[in-house]
């Protein structure tokens, strides 16, 4: 238990490290996607948010859940904007729900469902509105659809393509939240930047486990 918990804390910290690395690599791409119909700041917001989240988790004590709570608050404050608020709340909510474990498919799925509910309550976006929800919701559903005893690592990898398909689906959606309907039309043919970056966050977790158990 001690060790498993220590392991989980280290997983959270390494997740944030990989996520930050991935976001730095994709900063320009996310900015360009956001510039299609938005204001071009999504890449910068994600990098700024993750840099702060990574530092916060490094400096915080407590369970993996506690680290996530600290990371989410730091992400929201440093990131700012819509994605700072929403992803910050998502990470914090997941952290609260996971608390000090256990960390398995059931608890993780429940935690992510709570996070999705928070994002929906705050942002009031529906699936199909071309937001990060269109990647998050299929992923959470795909987790939930697997047998409870599936190892989390396996279930996560199995669910990732659902997020990626969700991103692809946003290409043919017209943005409805936070932007003018007409501006939304300009984004037709391009994926939603928030859905893309959320998928990078999910993929980063997979990278942590790859490192632990190279296949």
């Amino acid at each position: 238990m001690e060790n498993a918990a220590k392991g989980a804390e280290s997983v959270v910290r390494r997740w944030l490290a990989y996520a930050l690395e991935s976001m730095v690599v994709h900063e320009q791409e996310l900015g360009r996607l956001d510039a299609v119909a938005g204001d071009g700041d999504h890449g910068a917001t994600m990098v700024r948010g993750l840099r702060a989240a990574h530092t916060a988790a490094k400096e915080a004590n407590g369970s993996a859940g506690d680290l996530l709570v600290a990371a989410g608050a730091a992400f929201a404050d440093a990131g700012g904007g819509a994605s700072g608020a929403l992803l910050g709340a998502l990470i914090t909510t997941v952290g609260r729900a996971l608390s000090d474990g256990p960390y398995n498919l059931t608890t993780t799925t429940t935690a992510l469902q709570a996070g999705l509910a928070t994002v929906t309550r705050l942002g009031k976006a529906q699936p199909g509105d071309k937001t990060l929800i269109d990647a998050l919701q299929p992923f959470v559903d795909a987790l939930a659809g697997q047998p409870a005893d599936t190892p989390l690592i396996v279930a996560w990898r199995t669910a990732l393509p659902a997020a990626e398909a969700g991103v692809a689906a946003t290409q043919t959606m017209v943005a409805k939240r936070g932007r003018a309907a007409k501006l939304g039309e300009r984004s037709f043919g391009h994926p939603d930047p928030g859905a893309v970056s959320l998928t990078y966050l999910l993929q980063a977790m997979s990278t942590v486990w790859d490192e632990n158990h190279p296949s």
């Binding site: 119909a37 204001d39 910068a44 700012g80 700072g84 608020a85 007409k182």
Partner: protein, 332 residues
């Protein structure tokens, strides 16, 4: 293009330091927060008007902090709403028993963060309320006015709310007047070239030669529609016709006018444009009241402009004409 910066990551912190250093006679820094407050804040018994949003729109938002205008401004990163945490800290620094009014342009990120801060403040017993500016007619059709974005109309709503707060009105009254000002304010704009974020080398969007964008956003969003470029007098027609076809009910004949430059459009061009706007306003039987032709809500170095009309009545006119002082707008 942004040329003057050190580390782009420090841009916001450095600009706040520079702003406070320059205008220390009007503002001071909110300790431990990304924001500035009037030198005389907090003022016991007076409603605090807290405005804010992303940076890159100067004079919005910090340039409007001072006596008779905003009590404080929360400053986000370039084009990025400030976080709920920063809004909360700034609010705590300026709130009095009389309460707090948040005023800002209606954007997803700002709404999310200001709403979270409002809830937290209310939980702590601060009477915090919100009036969002929704003046941009391009961003949602009639009947969905609440969905519209806020652009240069921000200024009139801030001015009216700030004057109401300064004379000691109750929060109910400040909120009512801000809401009324917003309901009577309409803007529409055109863009000729996109802006470039600090550290980037390409603009957020480009406009093809001979084209312009209609219905611009002030965050480097392209317009809602492309159109061919035309002479100034036709641009005047277009801006005015769009606003007049969306005039608020029972507007009356007196209008406050703001012809706003976005950043790199020259003032001289704005005056050439204003010539025809003024003529046509008079021809429509409208009376321009204290027109302003200036850069009031910019979008970094974007080229373009927007026209804002605020249909006045006596109480709004009084507040618009009330004295105020701030780094960017002083009225004696």
């Amino acid at each position: 293009m942004t040329k003057l910066y050190n580390d782009p990551a420090d841009f916001r912190a450095e600009l706040i330091e520079g702003f406070v250093a320059a205008y220390g006679r009007l503002v001071k820094r909110v300790p431990n927060a990304s924001g500035v407050m009037a030198v005389d804040a907090p003022q016991p018994g007076k409603v605090a008007l807290v405005i804010g949003g992303g940076s890159g729109h100067y004079p919005a938002f910090c340039g409007y902090v001072g006596p008779g205008l905003a009590t404080a401004a929360v400053m986000g990163n370039i084009f990025t709403a400030p976080s709920a945490e920063q809004i909360y800290r700034v609010t705590k620094a300026v709130a009095s028993q009389a309460g707090v009014l948040y005023c800002y342009g209606n954007y997803s990120g700002d709404v999310l963060n200001f709403d979270m801060a409002e809830l937290r403040c209310q939980d702590e017993g601060i009477d915090a309320r919100t009036v969002r500016v929704t003046d941009d007619v391009a961003s949602a059709p009639r009947g969905q006015e609440d969905e519209r974005r806020g652009i240069a109309g921000d200024f009139f709503v801030f001015k009216i709310a700030g004057a109401s707060a300064a004379r000691g009105d109750s929060l109910d009254e400040v909120e009512r007047l801000a809401r009324k000002a917003n309901q009577r304010t309409r803007s529409f704009g055109v863009a000729f070239a996109g802006c470039t974020l600090p550290g980037q080398t390409a603009p957020l969007f480009t406009v093809a030669p001979g084209q312009m964008e209609l219905g611009l956003g002030v965050h480097g969003e392209p317009g809602i529609q492309s159109s061919h470029m035309r002479p100034a007098r036709e641009v005047a027609d277009l801006l005015l016709a769009t606003l007049l076809s969306d005039a608020p009910p029972r507007g009356g004949a007196s209008v406050a006018v703001l012809l706003n430059g976005l950043g790199s459009t020259q003032y001289e061009e704005l005056f050439v444009l204003y010539k025809d706007i003024h003529r046509r306003l008079l021809a429509e039987g409208l009376q321009p009241t204290q027109p302003i032709v200036a850069e009031m809500v910019t979008s970094l170095d974007m080229a373009g402009c927007s026209l804002t009309l605020c249909w006045l009545d006596d109480e709004l006119t009084r507040l618009l004409n009330a004295p105020c002082a701030s780094a960017a707008y002083t009225h004696a």
